[in-house]
Amino acid sequence: MKIECKIDSDKKIKVFQVEGELDVHHVKNLKAEIMDSIEPEGWTYEIDMEKVAYLDSSGLGMLVYIKKEIGRHNGKLRILHLNEQVLNVFKLTKLDEFFEIA
């Protein structure tokens, strides 16, 4: 799994570009990377999942955790560029209504 982070300090946005498969084996890396980068107040975090070919309940669970943690720091989480297969897993669990997906 590859994770790259681009930071725009002026706009207070961090974009994580993720490549790989988000199952129980790989979620820890992404979770740690994002958790370590959470700022004290009011940043927006975007996870670009264009290159995520697979996601399951472990990936969803990790995203739920991250969104709650970001919310505690008055931040926002946006999920970008889900492919149809991955978006369908969100829809199946109705988590497409919980996350901001663009």
Binding site: D23, D56, T93
Partner: protein
């Protein structure tokens, strides 16, 4: 309907088994399992829409074995089998989980957003038949997950939308 599917599984002949794998109980193997499942579905020419559902259900099942039954102890192992007939695609997972009671698997309330507990819900949502067979004496669990082939009765699932 569920009884009918179970009867069809029970009546499958021994040569319905296309493949049986002995798998290390490590989360590292999950990607390999997905590739094997995808290759098997493609080899049997069952159509791409089935691949995503079966890969997802199988990964969820194996994740539960590795995470909950084996607690990430990779000295443990489990078996995965694929059986087919003209009407059924069956994935079976054989593992050890003494004390496991399928009836006690919680059904998630999707209005309460939680970080876990969605794996079996996803499996049940995308497969046409899911059955846990437990042997209390040996602690052995046999999980059967079935997709109906060429049938209007199939529940579909995310890969078929």
């Amino acid at each position: 309907m569920q009884k009918r599917i179970q009867k069809m599984i029970d009546q499958m002949p021994p040569n319905a088994t296309q493949m049986k794998m002995h798998v290390k109980g490590s989360s590292e193997t999950l990607a390999l399992i997905r590739r094997v499942i995808a290759a098997c579905v493609q080899h049997l020419k069952l159509g791409d829409p089935l691949i995503n559902d079966i890969k997802l259900a199988t990964t969820e099942a194996c994740t539960n074995v590795i995470k909950h039954a084996y607690k990430f102890n990779d000295a443990m192992s489990f078996e995965l089998a694929i059986k087919t007939s003209a009407e059924l695609f069956v994935v079976e997972v054989f593992y050890q989980d003494p004390g496991f009671v399928p009836e006690k698997i919680p059904v998630p309330n999707l209005k309460e957003i939680k970080e876990g507990g969605l794996g079996v819900y996803i499996i049940r949502s995308i497969m046409d038949h899911v059955n846990y067979i437990t042997d209390a004496k040996s602690g052995r669990v046999r999980l059967q997950m079935v997709k109906l082939l060429n049938s209007k009765e199939s529940t579909g699932g995310p890969g078929e939308n």
